[in-house]
Amino acid sequence: MHWFTTVELAQYDGRNGAPAYIAYAGTVYDATHSFLWQGGRHQVLHAAGVDLTGSLDQAPHGADLLARLPVIGRLRERMDNG
């Protein structure tokens, strides 16, 4: 299991052919091949390469949809902060 820093995660923003990774509650998911994350953007309002933990409360869905994405690692800062 790979441990990401937020700086490293930011490289995977889905733009210019980069993979699209997103973090939620300390887990990093690979959204590269998701139709809903094309180009590293999701429903206009969200971008890949960041920790979306605080954003999901505002989304019209729960974390269950993230479980459909492959887990690619863990987010170090999130874990360090408990």
């Binding site: 139709f35 809903l36 094309q38 429903q43 206009v44 309002l45 989304a59 019209p60 869905h61």
Partner: protein
């Protein structure tokens, strides 16, 4: 463009360009779903499939109505539809409702249908949340569409055995909530 109408929405604190992008994405989802549901409908055959065909057809026609109802609002706010049909497909707010590998698997067909409706319910909930109390016309339209999408979800969910929908099939005309935007 309806200049003052757009100005009112901007002054209410809404980023109109963001809203327009969401409206175009959801309009794209409606039109592409209309297309994919056409394929699903013709493949709903046999003893099990025929029982679902009529309701899939109602959802198909209402999704087309949703597209038709959204287009004027997009242009009122100064937006436009993609000029390219392929782009239209690719910007859709929902994944393609593709025919399952085994079209005789009615449960797989229903799963595609209910997933498409659930995506739509999420999309219009987001637009309603964004526009409530700020952009009355977009809210009214999105709420009308949301009402119909929720019924579609309920119908297919019921067929999947997830519990009673509490609804009856349409009797006669389609789009009881969205019709006022089509006249």
């Amino acid at each position: 463009m309806a200049r003052v109408a757009r100005e009112m929405v901007e002054r209410a604190g809404i980023n109109v360009d963001t809203l327009l992008e969401l409206l175009v994405k959801n309009a794209s989802a409606e039109l592409t779903t209309f297309y994919y549901y056409t394929i699903l409908r013709v493949n709903l055959i046999g003893l099990e499939g025929e029982g679902i065909k009529e309701i899939a057809e109602t959802a198909r026609i209402e999704d087309r109505n949703h597209f038709e109802a959204l287009v004027p609002r997009i242009y009122e706010l100064g937006g436009q539809l993609p000029a390219d049909m392929k782009e239209f497909h690719d910007v859709s707010a929902c994944p393609p409702a593709s025919l399952p590998k085994n079209p005789t698997d009615v449960k797989a067909m229903l799963t595609v249908l209910v997933e498409a409706e659930r995506c739509a319910v999420r999309g219009y909930t987001q637009i309603c949340n964004m526009t409530a109390g700020k952009d009355h016309r977009t809210y009214d339209l999105s709420l009308a569409i949301l009402n119909e999408e929720i019924e579609h979800e309920s119908w297919f969910s019921e067929f999947l055995g997830e519990g009673p929908s509490g609804h009856y099939l349409r009797r006669g005309e389609t789009s009881p909530f969205v019709r006022k935007f089509l006249e």
